[in-house]
Symmetry: C2
Subunit: 353 residues, 2 copies
């Protein structure tokens, strides 16, 4: 906090505020006017349109040195991931992505071939999820690479899942496993430190393939959206896990005006994630990785209890807890039956100093 | 071209290729699949949807040090301009903008108050053009500020104006005046150089107010779109002037498979623009400013000759030439009746060295 002493008068540092408070501050005074704006800021996508088929809109930015490190990020993967995380937001509304726009600001450190690699990754993700690239922008940048993907999707009005629809006693579900993307990042950062100390060092990434792929080339869970549809399940609320399970649960609790209990032993954690945690010098707990790691791009959703039987048959869906009343907090229940209050994450601007 | 000697094998420098060739290369292999994708890459907006009301989508990025210089760009103006240039793309399709998304990557050099200023500019432009901010993203960046605006608009199918609709003998029109934004930039750059040499220097910007406003706070010509509608004129083709008149004319000629003649004495140039040009040490010609300056965000469009009487009554619309046959070039005809072939611009990545 020392830098505060040097702050200008009336200057609030980004590091004091953090992402969520910043968004709250800058989005004041933007009440929607158009009657076609159904949902503006505050969910995974904006919802637009006057007909039953609603349009979904979402935009996401990745900046070099913040969201990715060029030292260990293959450019194809970068393009793929930039699209995948945007599509994940459409999945989180229970929608279907249709079109994307890609804007890129790039310095001349990057060759034309490097940019083509990024777009090759974009193309592969478009191919896999049957999405059209319909536009974008390229601009020169003084330093580094910034890539912004905007996705347009569709969903029927009655199938839309907002963050705000969870009800008392609803069951809380998550897909896949949690914390593995962050475990992959930990491995890459460890190898980078070793490589910097000894440039002849050859990183050995054997046995980490799953967590590395989770970090470098995540998949949006549109397969789960299809399974839910086939089983005629409409979640009562949904969000994708980009900032970590704890943050996402708190979003749902805040927007749905409820509390929640999730059970530690029910959280799905891959054995590679557990292994990476045990290797870390600070003996990181796999559970804190799962709660706060982020970038999993799994889906977190709530269902009515009446959908329990149908939901439990869907592969890759885990029931991890339930919604509690408005006066309650968002809590983790340990195997010893201790309740721990969950705390939000989200990025905090790092100091250049 | 010296740096080419040091280029890696198989490495093509961005500076060798330029913007338009880069876009051509990276957008190969992205043929639209969805039947709702009516127009993908290659116009001012993508066009989407199966009903008569088409959706328009456009995205634009501004990067610090490339598209704006923080030394002389008021943050409110920056936010306003980022939105205005995106809305201009919707105007260029003869559409109406409805919603925007704003993504921002920002380093911690910027205070929270600075970011609020940017969003205050965004809000003012939204207010003026009755557009909703419905989403966005904020991310930390290692260096500088990158702002991406995506706009959603609407247009009736039969009123859409592509770049490709110009026909032989159509009249070429442009709005407002040309080259004034670039003249504003020249003034700002001149004052910056003087200030750097002598930091006690107080810039005197009296008498440059029009060109400065043109550069710092442009307006999308949605007023002209309304006038065209009221007069039941649907241009045969349209584009907005962001890279300079010459580039935009070449886009129309290429997409419409035609040539064009424009007449030097018909190009609208403001007296402040002429004054700035005369003050420059290299005795810049106002006409080259008008052709290549860029950032005017005026509309360039073609009309059928049958719409001439209706069009000439619209204030701010100038008829500057006509479309010629496919085998012809895009030419500027001087008052001495000399024909000069027009040459495309667009950005070229600058070298950091």
């Amino acid at each position: 906090m020392e830098e505060l002493e040097y702050a200008e008068e009336g200057r609030t540092e980004l590091s004091q505020l953090g992402e969520f408070a910043l968004i709250d501050r800058i989005t004041q005074g933007f009440a929607p006017r158009s009657k076609s704006t159904i949902k503006g800021i505050g969910d995974d996508c904006a919802v637009i349109g006057n007909s039953r088929q609603k349009l979904l809109l979402t935009t996401d930015t990745m900046a070099e040195g913040v969201n990715f490190d060029m030292m260990y990020t293959p450019l194809k993967h970068l393009g793929y991931k930039a699209v995948a995380r945007s599509l994940s937001n459409v999945a989180a509304m229970n929608g279907r992505p249709l079109q994307i726009l890609v804007s890129i600001a790039v310095s001349n450190r990057y060759s034309v071939e490097a940019i083509e690699q990024i777009y090759e990754g974009v193309r592969r993700c478009c191919d896999r999820y049957d999405v059209d690239l319909v536009g974008g922008d390229t601009t020169s940048s003084r330093s580094g690479l910034v890539i912004t993907v905007t996705t347009v999707g569709m969903a029927e009005e009655e199938k839309l899942t907002y963050r705000s629809g969870a009800h008392l006693h609803d069951l809380i579900c998550c897909t896949g496993d949690l914390g593995s993307a962050y475990a992959g990042l930990l491995v890459l950062e460890r190898e980078k430190v070793t490589f910097k100390a000894d440039p002849t060092f050859q990183p050995d990434l054997d046995g980490y393939d799953y967590v590395l792929e989770r970090y470098l080339k995540p998949e949006p869970r549109l397969d789960i959206i299809n399974r839910l549809r086939e089983n005629e399940i409409v979640p009562t609320s949904m969000i994708d896990v980009s900032d970590g399970l704890a943050s996402e649960l708190l979003h749902i609790c805040k927007e749905s005006n409820c509390g929640c209990d999730i059970y530690e032993e029910r959280l799905p954690i891959d054995y590679q994630t557990t292994r990476v945690c045990s290797e870390m010098s600070n003996n990181m707990l796999p559970i804190s990785n799962a709660l706060n790691g982020g970038e999993d791009y799994e889906l977190l959703f709530t269902i009515a209890q009446s959908d329990y039987e149908k939901t439990k048959t869907i592969e890759g869906v885990h029931i991890i807890g339930h919604i509690t009343e408005a006066a309650s907090k968002a809590r983790l229940i340990t195997p010893q039956n201790t309740a721990i209050d969950l705390v939000a994450q989200g990025w905090v601007a790092k100091d250049d100093k």
